[in-house]
Symmetry: C2
Subunit: 641 residues, 2 copies
């Protein structure tokens, strides 16, 4: 391209380093500001701005300042040099400049039309993260934490519904957005805003898949704070967690879909290959993640029994837990799978098995550690989103595309929630009521995952347009929908003030009082899940944790020697206390809190009738296998007081 | 240089990314292995190998494997390209290669003689960290944790001695090593192994300063485990913490010492400039670190009183604490000071003031968080040291230099400890006994800081020789001296099994029983320290924390309105309980533990006589201001039982 000889001032290492410090300081400053603001808001019970929304706002302001206040100091650095000797880009480039050798490291490929964006403000360039940081550093702790803090009992009860929303719903959402956007793209081509060859249907589908990742972190935080109905919370949380995994793998599968001939025509072979890719990557990542968690469970289990108390060294225990969970991510990435999906299922499995084996100290340490990492990573991402609106240099604001995307996103959410809820209600004994459906529709916020997927590739113009649009949708949904959650809850008359753990406590108490056996536990769940549950309860739990019945009672007679070897000595004593009732309390409460109250067996405060009824009604069988747990809409109807 | 046209295979981003995952996986694997081994060792009370030694050993083995088992796959990448158009290296280089623009990022300058080292094994290159990672990511949490976990009461009592060892001792050590090494270098020049112009006296001093950073982490871990005498522990720990700061700033000052004419001649101007640099950087970093901590203390203090309970949101509190402490590091770096020194004093100040304002939950969270980060960072560094012996490509093993360095390091340690202890003993009422001196001499291990300082600059051949030598000294001291700690303790008849907190507990109990006022607290300390202590106790503590007497009693009458405004309401109630007695318990014990036992006032188990005597004997004044705390050598002589 252009051959320009310009003198660029040499940058010594010190200067490089100090600039890195300044950038990080900017982020630190924004986060500190966010924390102080949020603390002020929480203080005044002001719920219209969540910390993520605040971080985004401050990021926006800072981006504005950096954009328009700092000077374009480094204008010369956008020149392209010619190197005839190279045939392709090596990973490390050694260049001899005025008899001094400099080492340069490969960063990325740049499209010719983006080269100009590199001219200009050095500060803007410095404030731009490498997109891979999102996928390798910031997202894993967020996703792991989500998996690790799934409330298991409620989650598994609604598993059918959650899986339906997550898989079928995301696919529907992706296709609907893709189709609508394709219509808009056609219109744009018609009006001459876009050239036909720039935007294929697969690009529309790609946009659809990345916009299908919902991230209702704001809504969930308010739900948690207001103690909204546990089943609504679980449905929404479970959907958003799994849906991220689905959207990530879907986006990847679509991006590698490459029909051989006409890119607009349907190529069955390529399509099925993509479907195969999707299934393979998803299953592989699932297997990778859960197997690391099983290894951790086995080690922590072994530690506690046969050898010595690893709980005497909670630091080692926590370190092991952290490193093995991280290894799940890295192994999946190294194997060409999706690390984030692996880390999600690793988190779920760790919570289900390993958590039971940890010492009380490590339980708290791991929970707090991941909570803290989640908090920081989430706020950094949202902060960065705010910044990116002004610091990202290749925005393409196309009004028609943006309008189309807004329409598409809301229609797609509607096509996801309402039809699927209708179908699910056919099978569910406890229907998902209208107001829950509206709330789920309303909670279709887009956040960190959609952003990270969009920023991953901003090289071509369609991708830049998508990125800009995705960013605006994130802003709109987080601020408007996030801020409107509390009024919406009131308007939809969704009950709040439910102690999310009370059902479980009361139930655990009634279970320990009525000397539960596996049959009652079984009867609560639907048939599909019950098969796995039985297997888990009888074999996996006793092998991997200290809970559940001893293997000697669940395995056939002739397996007794093996069973005795594998069974934890504590299992015999504890067999009345079913391990599946333990769960991870989400925020700041200690598990001891729960355990003590569960064992003192005071079953009910003002809702005795309702929860005890739950267990009994569930014994009736024959539902679709899509979870069975009675939803209480109007608590005053059930509560005898 | 060489103009070579070679075809280098293009590396797509995926491949880059996956390689990063593999490297991290290697480290994860090594750390997991280390944790499992250490757990096994702890289980069998085997104390000859500390986790850092284990990490180093595994790193060594892995380095050996990578070095000799993996293939030299990427031979072509060591070629140097000529770029006539550039006059110097820009931060970002855009290169047009076969009509595709690639972005390259500036990494570093390379000496011509090191270019060959870049040929060869890609895996070796990948396993090589950027040295700035040590200073920016791995060391800060280690140093902060050290500062945050200083046991304050014991530390301040021995402050004079600790400062003497840290400042004077490090300077002596640096000069002695420098002089001895200069002699060896002269000898090497004489035998023709080295050219005169390659190695100046300043290089020798540079080596002396970096080798003066002691890191007795292994020894301290064993001391902690065996509950060795608290004063020995404090002297050694305090010395090693402060000495790191001194050595880092000293190394920097020496590296920028540039006499105008003959580099071997003494240039008074340049020398005083270096001294000025040292003092300026040290004082600046100190001010930066402690002012951030004071800000944190003020925010957390304000939170607790005037506004609302920030302790209701321990996540926000912990986040704020973490971010502000990190900002201290970044600000110091951005201002051209030494971030590590700033973060050290930030940690000390946070522990002294902010810690008292935190909610119990946040106290534990911050302590565990930094403990965890310290644990990971320390093991990663030691692991990397093991790896570096085989994966670093520019080792220069010079037997004479290595022998000289070993001699110099041990002689310098002796010149540091014995003369200074003699001088200190002239002033100390409680002498530092011979066996403590021998133990301190023995504990002159070199570790993470020396390594990080040495690897920072490995560009010239003298620096490479120094790096190789430093690495060998670290290996030797960590394994041999670290492993020999337990036998040495026995041999030197140093008492073990002392509850490190018992002195404090008993004292706190006797204090709360005898209704202590500021006079007794004052009388315990030496005059130099007492001035500051009085000021701290009367003004700083009441302003920044909830402890100490209310300001209304300490400030003059006419300040009463201001004083009342600034005083925490809880200070009036709590004034009998002196805040200076609280401290951070080092490992895994909760503060509640201490507080409850301190208040139940059970002063002594088997050592009543000794500790109660301490307070009284200290009332005699006239010592050199170098701390006064009676050392108990043979507990059986004091214990009445």
């Amino acid at each position: 391209m252009e051959k320009l000889k310009k003198y660029v001032s040499v940058k010594d290492e010190d200067q490089f380093y100090h600039q890195g410090a300044v950038e990080l300081l900017v982020f630190n400053f924004l986060l500190i500001l966010t924390i102080l603001t949020i603390w002020l808001f929480k203080n005044h019970r002001f719920r219209f701005l969540h910390e993520t929304g605040g971080a985004m706002l401050y990021g926006l302001v800072m981006g504005l300042i950096i954009r328009y206040v700092t000077k374009a100091s480094d204008v010369e650095s956008g020149t392209v040099y010619e190197c005839e000797k190279l045939k392709s880009g090596p990973s490390t480039l050694l260049i001899n400049i005025t008899n001094q050798v400099y080492e340069y490291q490969y960063k990325r490929e740049i499209s010719h039309h983006n080269v100009n964006g590199h001219q200009g403000n050095a500060m803007l360039q410095k404030m731009t993260f490498d997109p891979s940081i999102f996928f390798n550093i910031l997202l894993p702790p967020i996703i792991f934490h989500a998996g690790y803090s799934l409330k298991k009992r409620h989650f598994f009860r609604n598993l059918g519904s959650i899986l339906t929303y997550a898989f079928l719903g995301t696919a529907i959402s992706c296709i609907v957005i893709g189709l609508i956007m394709y219509g808009f793209v056609k219109a744009m081509v018609h009006t001459g805003q876009l050239k036909q060859w720039e935007f294929h249907f697969t690009d529309c589908l790609f946009f659809g898949s990345l916009m299908s990742a919902t991230d209702p972190v704001t809504v969930l935080a308010i739900f948690h704070e207001l103690h909204v109905d546990t089943d609504l919370y679980t449905l929404l949380f479970g959907e958003s967690v799994l849906n991220d995994a689905v959207a990530i793998v879907l986006t990847y599968s679509i991006s590698i879909y490459s029909p051989k001939e006409n890119p607009n025509a349907f190529d069955a072979a390529a399509f099925f290959q993509s479907v195969g890719n999707f299934l393979g990557i998803f299953a592989g990542s699932f297997a990778m993640g859960s197997s690391y968690a099983v290894v951790t469970a086995l080690i922590s289990f072994m530690h506690l029994t046969k050898f010595t108390k690893l709980c005497e060294f909670p630091m080692l225990e926590t370190g092991l837990f952290f490193l093995l969970s991280w290894s799940a991510f890295l192994s999946a990435e190294a194997a060409g799978l999706t690390g984030i999906v692996a880390v999600l299922f690793c988190g779920v499995t760790q919570a289900h098995y390993t958590y039971n084996n940890l010492s009380p100290d490590s339980k708290m340490r791991t929970k707090q550690l991941f909570e803290f990492m989640n908090f920081l990573a989430e706020n950094v991402i949202f902060c960065y989103m705010g910044l990116a609106l002004f610091t990202f240099q290749n925005h393409i604001f196309n009004p028609l595309f943006i309008c189309g995307a807004f329409v598409a996103v809301f229609l797609a959410r509607a096509c996801n929630i309402y039809p699927l809820s209708f179908l699910l209600n056919l099978g569910r004994k406890q229907k998902i009521p209208r107001n829950f459906q509206h709330m789920m529709m309303f909670s279709g916020l887009r956040g960190a995952i959609a952003f990270a997927l969009a920023i991953r590739d901003t090289d071509s113009q369609p991708k830049q347009m998508m990125f800009t649009t995705a960013l605006l949708i994130v802003f709109f949904t987080v601020w408007v929908f996030g801020g409107g959650t509390t009024p919406m809850l009131t308007w939809l008359q969704i009950r709040v003030g439910v102690d999310p753990d009370e059902d479980l406590k009361a139930e655990a108490a009634s279970q320990s009082a009525s000397n539960l056996d596996k049959n009652t536990t079984k009867a609560e769940s639907a048939w599909l899940f019950r098969i796995w549950y039985g297997f888990d309860h009888k074999y996996l739990k006793p092998i991997l944790t200290h809970t559940g019945p001893p293997l000697t009672t669940t395995l056939p007679e002739w397996c007794n020697p093996v069973a005795r070897l594998l069974t934890s000595p504590t299992a015999y004593g504890d067999q009345l206390k079913d391990g599946d009732t333990d769960y991870i309390i989400n925020n700041d409460e200690l598990t001891e809190n729960y355990e003590s109250s569960a064992h003192t067996a005071v079953p009910a405060r003002d809702r005795t009738g309702s929860t005890q009824a739950t267990g009994k009604e569930d014994i009736q069988e024959g539902d679709l296998g899509l979870g069975g747990y009675k939803l209480q809409l109007q608590p005053q109807m059930n509560s005898p007081a």
